[in-house]
């Protein structure tokens, strides 16, 4: 079993937004209902100690610690400062380097949050879906009001100070194929955001993504190819679109350690707000992810986790792929697509991604563009 290298702490189980596509609240796993609102100090202190011991035992010089939610800023500044102090002190004492990240919807971000994240070298990502019209279609408050203006303020704030620039690692944007891809890309560049990633909606064979009624249709691939060509045309090395960089790197033969592409096993463990140990959080779109253990009572290597079918699948890499994927000429690049997108009730995760045709077309396009750049 490969080691876990990244630990996602669900420090707040609720969110002040009500996004239409959220994998935490809107899809298969509804366990959030029974979670406490925020993580207690006991839970994060035990987590820090057990992660440090685990890292030491497995000779990991560094681990990824990601504060996630819900909306992680709902933990509050005081508690966030405490959790970061405790993790930093516990990991450092054990000779482990923590690499800290946090993904926020941005609506609660202010200067004092930025000061706090800068103090602890926490790199933050902000979720935004393009321009106001596009963003406000899905990313609303519980009242139904769009969140765009608050999120824009957060991005402008992060971009306006040296400290903000140092910790702002970029944006995540969920693909909406009804939006104009070029306008979407330029909406980010106009915000002075140059680190971008596009996410496929977390859907599968049971909840068909919009435009994917026919498995062989490629609306997502076509949308991404339009952006890819614009990205090449801009030819600006300061613009980073993670999905394209990862796919190009894999095409060129450089292994990438990300849970989305490539055949690398998924090495992520989620600690829920009450300490429950869970598989990769996005799998909540398809199945219940609870592994039957809790950080307060169990070891990170307890047999319940190691024998869990879900952990075996996420750790399986190439071996977890369906036979069609294993035989595919692009498998080393797509890695079968994101695990949550392979799910069907009948065959569980033994399917190609619901976005297989899209990803295949995108990879073929990238290969053709790279080949054309050769002498």
């Amino acid at each position: 079993m490969p080691n876990f290298t990244t630990f996602i702490l669900k420090v707040a189980s609720r969110c002040n937004l009500d996004c239409s596509y959220c994998y935490m609240y809107k899809l298969a796993d509804q366990s959030w209902v029974d979670q406490p609102n925020v993580m207690t100090s006991e839970t994060w202190q035990v987590s820090a100690n057990k992660i440090a011991s685990y890292a030491k035992k497995h000779q990991l010089s560094s681990v990824g610690i990601i504060l996630h939610g819900g909306e992680p800023l709902l933990l509050g500044k005081q508690r966030t400062e405490s959790i970061l102090t405790d993790f930093h002190s516990t990991l450092t004492k054990n000779g482990i380097r923590g690499s800290y990240g946090l993904q926020t919807n941005g609506t609660l971000l202010d200067e004092s949050w930025i000061d706090l994240f800068h103090k602890f070298d926490v790199h933050i990502g902000i979720s935004i879906d393009g321009d106001k019209d596009n963003h406000d279609k899905n990313r609303t408050y519980h009242s139904g009001q769009g969140s765009y203006s608050a999120v824009r303020k957060a991005i402008d704030l992060a971009n306006s100070s040296p400290k903000g620039k140092e910790i702002f690692s970029g944006i995540l944007s969920v693909i909406n194929i009804e939006s104009d891809p070029i306008m979407t890309l330029h909406s980010f560049l106009d915000m002075r955001v140059k680190n971008i990633d596009f996410l496929f909606p977390d859907l599968n064979y049971e909840s068909i993504p919009p435009g994917k009624e026919d498995f062989n249709n490629t609306p997502y691939g076509d949308w991404l190819i339009t952006i890819f060509d614009e990205y090449l045309k801009l030819n600006d090395p300061d613009i980073s679109i993670r999905m394209f960089e990862v796919l190009m790197s894999l095409c060129l033969g450089y292994q990438q350690d990300i849970d989305m592409f490539g055949c690398t096993p998924i090495k992520i463990l989620v600690i829920e707000t009450n300490g429950d140990l869970n598989a990769l959080d996005c799998l909540k779109a398809s199945v219940e992810t609870y592994l039957g253990a809790n950080i307060l009572n169990d070891d990170l290597e307890c047999s319940t986790i190691n024998h869990s079918e879900l952990i075996k699948i996420q750790a399986g890499g190439y071996q977890s792929l369906c036979s069609k994927c294993q035989k595919c000429d692009n498998v080393s690049v797509c890695g079968g697509g994101y695990l949550p997108h392979r799910y069907s009730e009948l065959q569980q995760f033994d399917n190609p991604s619901i976005y297989c045709a899209d990803i295949y077309k995108l990879i073929e396009h990238i290969k053709a563009k790279l080949s054309a750049m050769k002498q």
Partner: protein, 58 residues
């Protein structure tokens, strides 16, 4: 970082040629290859980033 079997092979000559060209994407791709080679050849420098990236975190 390790290497896997590439689907598109860039030789040293291809990279040098691309560096001097103004083809769409030439700067983006040559800089990417430079960064990847640096990670490949000097793993200690990037050791602090040895954890897996999460698609739902930037």
């Amino acid at each position: 970082m390790t290497k896997i079997s590439p689907l598109v092979v860039f030789t040293e000559e291809d990279i040098n040629h691309l560096k001097s060209s103004s083809t769409s994407g030439s700067v983006v791709v040559t800089k990417l290859i430079e960064r990847l080679e640096m990670k490949l050849n000097d793993p200690d420098v990037f050791a602090h980033n040895s954890h897996q990236s999460h698609n739902r975190t930037r």
